[in-house]
Amino acid sequence: MQSKETQHTDMLPLSGCRVLERSNTVAAAYAGRMLAALGAQVVMLEPPGGSSLRRAPPLIDDGESALFAYLAVGKRSLAADPDSASGRALLERELGAADILIDDTPLREREALDLTPEAVRRRFPDLVHVSVLPFGAAGPKADWDGEEINLLHAGGEGFLLPNGLSHELFPDRPPLKIYGHFGGYQGGAMAAFCALAAWWAVPAGGGQYVDVSVQDAVLSVGAFALQRLGDGSLEHRTSRRFRYGGVFEAQDGFIELLTLEDRQWSSLVELLGHPAWAADAGLRDPLERSRRGDEINGHIREWMARHPVEDIVRRAQELGVPAAKYRLPAEVIHGEQERARGLFAPAVLASGREAGILVAPFQFRCTPLPREGRVPPLDEMAQEAST
C-alpha cells in the first residue's frame, strides 16, 4: 500500500528518473534544478567541502547563498572525494543507479576520474551522459574557460546590449550584460532538454553522450541576429532599437511600451487622449511612424512623465496596447498573478530558515509539480544513512 505522498510522487512528470549531478557551474546546476522541479530524483555529488556554488553570490545576510538555494532546492546532497578510493566507489555506485549524468568536470580532469564519454559508456551503456561546459567538449576552444560575462559576449548577445533608453542615456559606456546568469540558464535548460530527448531514445538505442555548450546555447537563443546577418544587416546595440516605443519613465516607475501592429497604434493614440500631434495624417503610415520614431517617443515621454504607472498599464491593457510595468523583485514575489498561479512556494534553506523560491517556469495542469522543497545540507544523504 502506497502512502499518499508516494502516490503523488509517482504521478510527477519525471517520477522514477534518477539524475546524478556534478556541478560547479550555474549551467549544470540549473539543468539538474529543472529536472528536480519536474519530479526527478537529483543527487548532487559534491566535493567534501561542498560545491563552490554554495558560496556564490548573492548571499543572504547570514552568508547562505541565495543563488545556491535557488539552484539546489529539491535536490539531495552526497559528498564524495573523487581522489579517494571510497569517493570513487561512491561515484561508481551512484552512476550505476542513475538514468542521467549531468557533468561539468573540465575536460582535462575527466580521464583521471574515468568520466570520459568512452569510459562511461563502457561501464554504463544505458546512461544518458550530458556534458555541460562553457565552450562545449569538442572543437578548438573546448578547453577554454568562461564565466557568464565571457559567454554572453562569446554567444553574440552581449555586444548587442543595452538598446534603447539605456544606450541613449549612456552612449559611451561599455556593453552591458543581462542580470545574473542568463547565458548559464540557457545552457542548463538546453542540457536538460537534450538529456530528456536522449532519455526518450534509450529504449531504441541505449544511452548516449550529449555535448552541450553554454556558448552554443547563447547563440541559439540569439539566432535572430545571425539570421539578420544573412539578410545583410550586422546588428549593433546602437541601431538595434525599436523605432518608437521601448522603456519610458512614468511618474513613479518605468514602463515598457511596444506597438507593432496598426490597431495597437490606434489604441495608443486613444490612450494618449488623441493629442493634436498624433492627428497628423502622415502618421497613419507605419513606415512614416518608423521614420519619425524619435519625434513620437518625445511626445510619449512627455505624456508618461505626467501619469502614474498603474493607471497607464491598466488603461493600456484595457485598450489592447502592449504595456507593462518594470516590476521590482519584491513586486514579482508579491504579485497577484504569481500568487494566483503559485509561482513561488516556501522552501527550507540549509540554515533552517524559510524562503519563497520559484517552483518552475512551467506548469503541468494534469499533474501539478511538487511545491514542497528544501535546500539540502551538505552530504545529507550519508548523514541520514548513518543515523
Partner: protein, 424 residues
C-alpha cells in the same frame, strides 16, 4: 532529404544541404525524436522556437497556418527594416506546412485529425483562443486521448493577467529581469529575442518531460508555460532575497565576488574584452600576461579587489588601452584566465570553433543562396541526424503528404475544400 521524414518531398519543398549530411555514416542511429509528430499552431518567435528545437532533434513538425492568418515571417516587418517576407526563417526551418482556415468548422475538424495523428500539439495564442476555435485541451483529448498539449503564452493560462498580450520586452518587464538588468544608475533594460527564445527552450524542456511522462503513464498532459515566468526564473536568486525582505542590488557588469569583472575597451574602436577574475592566481596571471606589477596591497585579495572595484576597473582599462583584443583573450585563456572578446555576429559567423561544433552551419536550397544558420543545439554521440534538414517551408507546401497521405483525402476532396475556403 532526411530519412526521418517518412515521405518524399513535394516538388516545391526545399531540402537543406547542410554539412551534417555529409558526415560519417558510422553514427547511423536515428535522431532522438525521430517518430515524434507535432501539430504546430504556434506563431511569432517563442512557440516556434520550441517546436524548431524539437524538430532539430528529429520530430516531424506540421505547421498549421492560413493565407488569412500567416505567421509573421511571411509578412514584411518594417520595424526591423524587412520590407518583404523572409526567405529564410530560422524558427520555421525543418517544419512542414499546411493551410487550414480555422474560422471554418471543417478546418477545425481537419486540424483535430492531424492532432489525432500527433504526439504533441503546440500553440501560442492568447489564452481562450484555442477554446473559441473548438480546439481546447479537452476537445483535443477527444481526438487523441494521450495528447501532450503545450500552451505558451505571455502570462499563462490562469490568473488575473492571463489575458494580457505581450512581446519579449514586456515578458522581461513583468518578470523582473528587465528591472534587474541595467547600469546601476540607469533605467531598466528591455530584453529582445533572446527572451522569446529562452521561453521556447524551457517549453521544449517541459514538452520532453511530458512526453516521457506519457510513455510511463499513458496519460495526457497540458503544459502551461508563461514567458514572463521564464523571465522571473532568470532572476531566481534575486527573488529568494526579495522573499526574505532583502532588496537585491542591480550590479550592471560588476560581480559581487569577482574583480576585475567587466567589459573593457581595447586598442581597436568598439572592440571590447570581457574579463572575469575568480581568484588570486588568476589575478596574478592577468598581471603577468599584461606585463604589469601586482604589488598593490589594495588588490592583494579577492575581497580587497572587490572593495576597490572602481579603481581597479580604471587600472585595467588603462592596461588594455593599447592591447589587441583577440590576441590578448587567447593569451589570457592560455594562462587560465576567463577572457573573451565581445563578439559581433560577423565574428561568430567566421568562428572555426562554432563551425566545428555545427552550432553555426551553412544551409542552402533551390532559390536560396548559401547562408548561415544556427545548427543543432547540442552534439549527440550516437547520431549525426540532428540539425537543420530543410529550410523555410512555402505556405501549404506539404499538403500532399499531410492531407493526402496522412489524412487520406483525395485530390477531389482537397479541391473542394480549397474551393470553399476551408483549405486557404
Amino acid at each position: 532529404m532526411s530519412q526521418d521524414y517518412p515521405h518524399s518531398p513535394s516538388p516545391d519543398s526545399r531540402p537543406a544541404q547542410t554539412p551534417a549530411q555529409s558526415q560519417s555514416p558510422s553514427r547511423a542511429l536515428r535522431a532522438p525524436l525521430a517518430g515524434v509528430r507535432i501539430a504546430d499552431f504556434t506563431i511569432h518567435a517563442a512557440g516556434p522556437f520550441c517546436t524548431h528545437l524539437l524538430s532539430q532533434l528529429g520530430a516531424e513538425c506540421i505547421k498549421i497556418e492560413s493565407l488569412t492568418r500567416p505567421d509573421a515571417f511571411r509578412k514584411p516587418h518594417a520595424v526591423y527594416g524587412r520590407m518583404s517576407a523572409a526567405t529564410f526563417d530560422q524558427v520555421s526551418a525543418n517544419k512542414l506546412s499546411v493551410r487550414l482556415n480555422l474560422k471554418q468548422p471543417e478546418a477545425v475538424a481537419l486540424a483535430k485529425r492531424i492532432v489525432a495523428l500527433s504526439d504533441v500539439a503546440a500553440e501560442s495564442f492568447r489564452p481562450g483562443v484555442m477554446k473559441r476555435l473548438g480546439l481546447s485541451f479537452d476537445e483535443l483529448c477527444e481526438a487523441r486521448r494521450d495528447l501532450v498539449l503545450l500552451s505558451l503564452s505571455s502570462c499563462g493560462q490562469s490568473g488575473p493577467d492571463s489575458h494580457f498580450a505581450g512581446y519579449a520586452p514586456l515578458f522581461g518587464a513583468w518578470g523582473g529581469l528587465g528591472w534587474m538588468s541595467g547600469y546601476s544608475d540607469g533605467p531598466p533594460v528591455e530584453m529582445r529575442h533572446v527572451m522569446d527564445h529562452a521561453a521556447g527552450v524551457h517549453a521544449a524542456l517541459a514538452t520532453m518531460a511530458a512526453l516521457n511522462q506519457r510513455r510511463r503513464t499513458g496519460q495526457a498532459q497540458h503544459v502551461d508555460l508563461a514567458a514572463r515566468e521564464v523571465a522571473s526564473a532568470m532572476i531566481g536568486d534575486a527573488l529568494v532575497l526579495a522573499s526574505l525582505g532583502i532588496t537585491p542590488e542591480r550590479p550592471g557588469n560588476a560581480d559581487l565576488a569577482m574583480a576585475p569583472h567587466g567589459v573593457y575597451p581595447t586598442a581597436q574602436p568598439d572592440r571590447w574584452l570581457t574579463l572575469a577574475i575568480r581568484d588570486d592566481e588568476q589575478w596574478r596571471s592577468l598581471t603577468r600576461v599584461l606585463g604589469q606589477e601586482d604589488d598593490d596591497a589594495r588588490y592583494a585579495t579577492a575581497s580587497a579587489r572587490v572593495a576597490h572595484r572602481a579603481d581597479l576597473d580604471r587600472l585595467v582599462t588603462h592596461w588594455l588601452a593599447t592591447r589587441d583584443a583577440e590576441s590578448t583573450a587567447e593569451q589570457l585563456q592560455q594562462a587560465g584566465v576567463c577572457a573573451h572578446v565581445s563578439w559581433t555576429m560577423q565574428d561568430i559567423a567566421s568562428d572555426p570553433h562554432l563551425q566545428a561544433r555545427g552550432a553555426v552551419t551553412t544551409v542552402q536550397a533551390p532559390g536560396i543562396p548559401a547562408r548561415l544558420a544556427v545548427g543543432a543545439p547540442a552534439r549527440f554521440g550516437a547520431t549525426d541526424q540532428v540539425g537543420i534538414r530543410r529550410l523555410t517551408p512555402a505556405l501549404g507546401q506539404d499538403e500532399d503528404y499531410v492531407f493526402g497521405e496522412l489524412l487520406g483525402l483525395d485530390s477531389a476532396q482537397r479541391a473542394d475544400l480549397e474551393a470553399r475556403g476551408v483549405i486557404l
